[in-house]
């Protein structure tokens, strides 16, 4: 018994020491010169070794069948304590945290060379390592105060990573919006943990003994809002597109692939401790589906490749949250199958999105580097000069659309199954209708979105002049190949991870008394994935044996027109214009420019774009309005000390009066 406990502590120590290395990884580089590649390599090696150590710890803990492991150390602060722990739910997220940033750092070796970015390379390395360690600490924390500290560390490190190019005005603006959004979220979390301590008597994140219904509801709402900012739930998503678009691509990959998931983790951790209310499930489900549909609809309207990917992250968060809604409802109704399929699918989607979205962001980085623009409407034809990049993009795109035979399908399949299972419940037809048809709509929109992205970047010919693209070097390709391979492995080998998902669901809801293996015949999905690979491979081979297999190269058939040019192609925007019009009632796209009609129109211009409804249509105008109103209060600012003392006296009297009235009305 004692020995088993010792090995278990081993994994926690492995993880903590790995985290120390990660957090420290950027420090030695400070001793090197600004443009030293040796410094950057040191940073990468430290981060990679730290991540590997921690990953070994996570795997050991998972193989020990998800036994809980805790470590509590008293500390100097008057509140809370340094209390960390491991369980199967945390492991799901830790596994992601210890894979993606390390790959991102490897990518950075080629993409953000310190030799070329002397001004900010070392700062980025420092922020990157701290971000990784802080995210892990958030997941490990079992104490509200420690959680908040780690959370703030993560938020600030992310801010410095996003504003790497802070000499650029746009980047500073995006960073500013992010900083405001994340701190409004943190404010809700402060309230959450303060209230938590008041209601339960301590900051420890343990299942409280008793909690009134109202208190549980209030904690739940605070958690949804506070963590919703970080996860990017609509309408709290507004910081996300700008931040992702303006950060370096490997930072966007970590933000989207991992940091958003930490927000999801927060929601999961808090809901696992609270007694579920009746209305939680359906609310979260509707919120998730709405976030998914709106997210992908906005993604469709984007011309900026990285903004498109960012909005698609919002969609994927929506899918995860919808699964959580189903699980919450299942827990309330004591339906284990809903809990398992909903949360199992949701957690698998956490992994899936954590693999294919970094892949796509890495890919976008290589593409943007080659094309010199982020606009999909100006690229095209890169598939011939960057064949590997295109192949990797196609893997990511098929996976993110949730199509078989890759990993995206498996997670969505669990969710669909869960929604179909609600048909047999009482009074839950609503969940089935909203969930299944919503997911179907999201799937169709995602397909349109990524066909658009793929065709805009890689297919056809360049819209504006020839782009001299080339496949990136090894340090960029290797992380992408690893992620793509993992997408394939999780698609074909999904049954392998089912035990880990089961354990994580059991950690979230100890009452769940079933298993995914019993509820869903995952091996069939593997078989189908295998069959698709086999069929396509066989077909590709069969083509070689055609009687006249050698293709004759010709120009594209344009109804006999012999000199087609790149500018005559459908652009990425025109491809999805039909869908954008269908969703015009929420997208509110902006059109502008001078259109001259007539036979001999000479000069004309046309602009169309989909700005963010929340940020660009509401928050920024509102902020401007506030900015205009505020100077009127300046009359109170007299600059004379005795007037200020008078203000203080008046306010104190006022407060006393209010307090007195409160006591003796």
């Amino acid at each position: 018994m004692g020995r088993a406990k010792e090995t278990r502590m081993l994994s926690l120590w492995l993880i903590l020491s790995g985290m120390a290395l990660q957090g420290f990884s950027g420090v030695p580089a400070l001793a090197f010169s600004r443009r030293s590649m040796a410094g950057q390599t040191t940073t990468f090696v430290l981060l990679a070794v730290g991540s590997l150590l921690s990953l070994v710890g996570v795997v050991l803990n998972a193989l020990g069948i998800g036994g809980a492991e805790e470590l509590t150390v008293p500390w100097f602060l008057p509140w809370g304590q340094f209390s960390v722990g491991l369980d199967a739910l945390g492991n799901v997220f830790l596994a992601l945290i210890f894979v993606v940033p390390a790959l991102g750092a490897c990518y950075g070796l080629g993409y953000w060379r310190q030799a070329d970015h002397g001004d900010n390379g070392r700062r980025l390395g420092l922020a990157f390592g701290v971000l990784t360690a802080a995210m892990a600490l958030v997941v490990l924390a079992r104490d509200g105060v420690l959680f908040l500290l780690a959370w703030e560390g993560m938020a600030l490190a992310a801010f410095f990573a996003i504003t790497t190019e802070d000499d650029n005005d746009e980047v500073r603006k995006a960073g500013w919006v992010y900083l405001v959004a994340t701190h409004v979220g943190t404010l809700c979390l402060l309230a959450l943990f303060g209230f938590w301590a008041r209601e339960t008597g301590s900051f420890s994140l343990l299942t409280p003994g008793s909690l009134t219904r109202e208190a549980a509801d209030a904690l739940f709402v605070l958690a949804m809002v506070g963590f919703g900012f970080k996860a990017g739930l609509m309408p709290l998503h507004f910081w996300l597109p700008g931040a992702h678009a303006h950060a370096p691509s490997h930072v966007s990959a970590v933000l989207s692939g991992v940091m958003l998931k930490v927000g999801v983790y927060g929601i999961l951790r808090i809901t696992s401790l609270l007694p579920v209310g009746e209305w939680w499930g359906i609310t979260v489900l509707i919120l998730g589906i709405a976030t998914g549909i709106l997210g992908i609809a906005f993604a469709l309207g984007q011309q900026d490749l990285k903004r498109l990917l960012a909005y698609s992250s919002i969609e994927n968060i929506g899918i995860m949250v919808a699964g959580l809604g189903l699980a919450l409802w299942g827990r309330y109704q004591a339906r284990d199958d809903w809990v398992l399929l909903g949360l199992g699918g949701s957690l698998l989607h956490v992994w899936n999105h954590g693999l294919f979205k970094p892949l796509l962001f890495f890919n976008a980085g290589a593409v943007i580097h080659a094309a010199g623009t982020r606009s999909l409407d100006r690229m095209g034809g890169l598939g011939r000069s960057m064949p590997f990049t295109m192949a990797l993009f196609m893997v990511g795109a098929v996976a993110i659309c949730g199509l078989p035979p890759l990993n995206g399908f498996v997670g969505e399949w669990y969710l669909y199954l869960g929604f179909f299972h609600t048909l047999q419940g009482t009074g839950a037809l609503m969940a089935a209708a909203a969930g299944a048809s919503g997911l179907a709509l999201i799937g169709a929109l995602a397909l349109a979105c990524f066909v658009k992205a793929g065709s805009g970047i890689f297919q056809g010919t360049s819209r504006e002049g020839e782009i001299p693209g080339h496949d990136p070097g090894g340090s960029l390709l290797v992380p992408m190949v690893i992620l793509a391979a993992l997408c394939v492995v999780l698609g074909v080998g999904a049954p392998l991870v089912v035990p880990a998902l089961d354990a994580a669901v059991a950690a979230w809801d100890p009452g769940a008394n079933s298993s995914l293996a019993a509820l869903a015949s995952t091996p069939w999905i593997s078989t189908a994935a295998f069959a698709v690979f086999l069929g396509v491979g066989g077909g590709a081979l069969g083509v070689k044996f055609l009687p006249r297999a050698k293709a004759k190269p010709v120009v594209t058939w344009d109804c006999g027109y012999a000199r087609p040019t790149g500018r005559m192609q459908y652009t990425a925007s025109s491809l999805t214009d039909g869908v954008v019009r269908l969703f015009g009632f929420i997208l509110w796209s902006r059109e502008g420019g001078k259109l001259r009609r007539g036979v001999f129109a000479r000069k004309w211009s046309f602009r169309k774009g989909v700005p963010d409804v929340v940020l660009d249509r509401w928050l920024l105008p509102f902020a401007k309005l506030v900015g205009r109103m505020v100077p009127r209060i300046r009359v109170f600012q007299q600059g004379q000390t005795h007037v200020y003392l008078l203000y203080i006296l008046m306010i104190t009297l006022f407060l006393f009066a209010v307090a007195g009235f409160w006591r003796h009305p």
Partner: protein, 302 residues
């Protein structure tokens, strides 16, 4: 075992005849003698022996389009029960795989089309992905209805389990559902009034516009795959709208074949008596399908 063999044989051999029946019906309506029933088989053989012509702008994605489509349609065909016999492959949740396999085909067909860099293919792809946004939720509403009525979660049992309810409890539901699925079938198989598989006006087409640049063996694969798709989706529709079985094996197979041929005559008649809709009207038709399938689900809420 025999059922599986018959199923696979029908799946792989029968479909071109279905298209032959449609064109024969249309010819008969127009007062022509028309091409022989087996014309598509001849066409396929002819195309397979032709050389390949391929645009210089294309990559492997262009070639992946037809190959993926054919693979996917065959796999989907193994999940659908043909008439009263069970599908060769059946497991809980296979209807989701069924729908997503077709989505995979759509992904590669549209990507392959856009690989040519032609605006005609761009138009076709744009329409295809736009229409899918409306048909996908309709299909899932249909699955929800069938799953609720049958209390099961695999295509075979869902389609077979609703046989009784057509005539008894849920007649209105099933009528609405059949109509909705029929419109989905018209859209997915690119038939009039959504699309015209025979026209040569690139500007007005959906599916044919996407495959303009595929010739020779590629065209053969595409034509063959789309005939398979018609049979597979037709089999789903037949199970919902025409759920009769005798309980005798061979008789059920005959009923299925007759049903599919009847469906193709119906399609031929429909294509003869009405014109293709204007492109901007097509979404209304598809919304109708969504409404029909959604309403059939609403009827279950009683």
């Amino acid at each position: 075992m025999i059922d599986v063999i018959v199923h696979c044989t029908l799946l792989l051999v029968f479909p071109p005849l279905v298209l032959g029946v449609i064109s024969k019906t249309k010819a008969w309506f127009a007062g022509r003698r028309g091409a022989p029933f087996l014309q598509l088989y001849f066409d396929l053989f002819k195309l397979m022996r032709k050389g390949l012509v391929q645009s210089t702008t294309t990559t492997w994605v262009f070639r992946a389009g037809p190959v993926v489509t054919l693979t996917v349609v065959v796999l989907a065909g193994l999940l659908v029960p043909f008439g009263a016999s069970a599908a060769p492959v059946s497991f809980p949740g296979d209807m989701i795989l069924f729908a997503y396999l077709f989505a995979l085909a759509r992904f590669f067909t549209t990507s392959a089309a856009l690989d040519t860099g032609s605006s005609f293919e761009g138009m076709g792809s744009a329409r295809e992905i736009t229409f899918a946004v409306l048909t996908e939720p309709a299909i899932f509403f249909a699955f929800l209805v069938l799953a609720k009525l049958s209390g099961t979660l695999s295509l075979t049992t869902m389609l077979h389990g609703t046989t009784g309810s057509f005539l008894t409890t849920a007649t209105p539901t099933m009528v609405l559902l059949s109509l909705g699925l029929f419109i989905v079938l018209l859209a997915e198989c690119s038939r009039i009034p959504v699309d015209d598989p025979t026209t040569h006006l690139e500007l007005t087409m959906v599916h044919e516009a996407m495959v303009l640049d595929h010739g020779g063996p590629w065209m053969a694969v595409i034509e063959y795959a789309s005939s398979l798709k018609l049979l597979v989706l037709g089999a789903v529709l037949m199970n919902v709208a025409f759920p009769f079985s005798t309980g005798i094996g061979w008789a059920d197979w005959l009923i299925f074949v007759a049903g599919i041929l009847g469906l193709s005559v119906l399609l031929g008649v429909l294509e003869s008596v009405m014109a293709r809709l204007r492109m901007n009207r097509v979404p209304y038709l598809l919304v109708t399908a969504l409404l029909l399938c959604g309403s059939s689900f609403l009827l279950l809420l009683r």
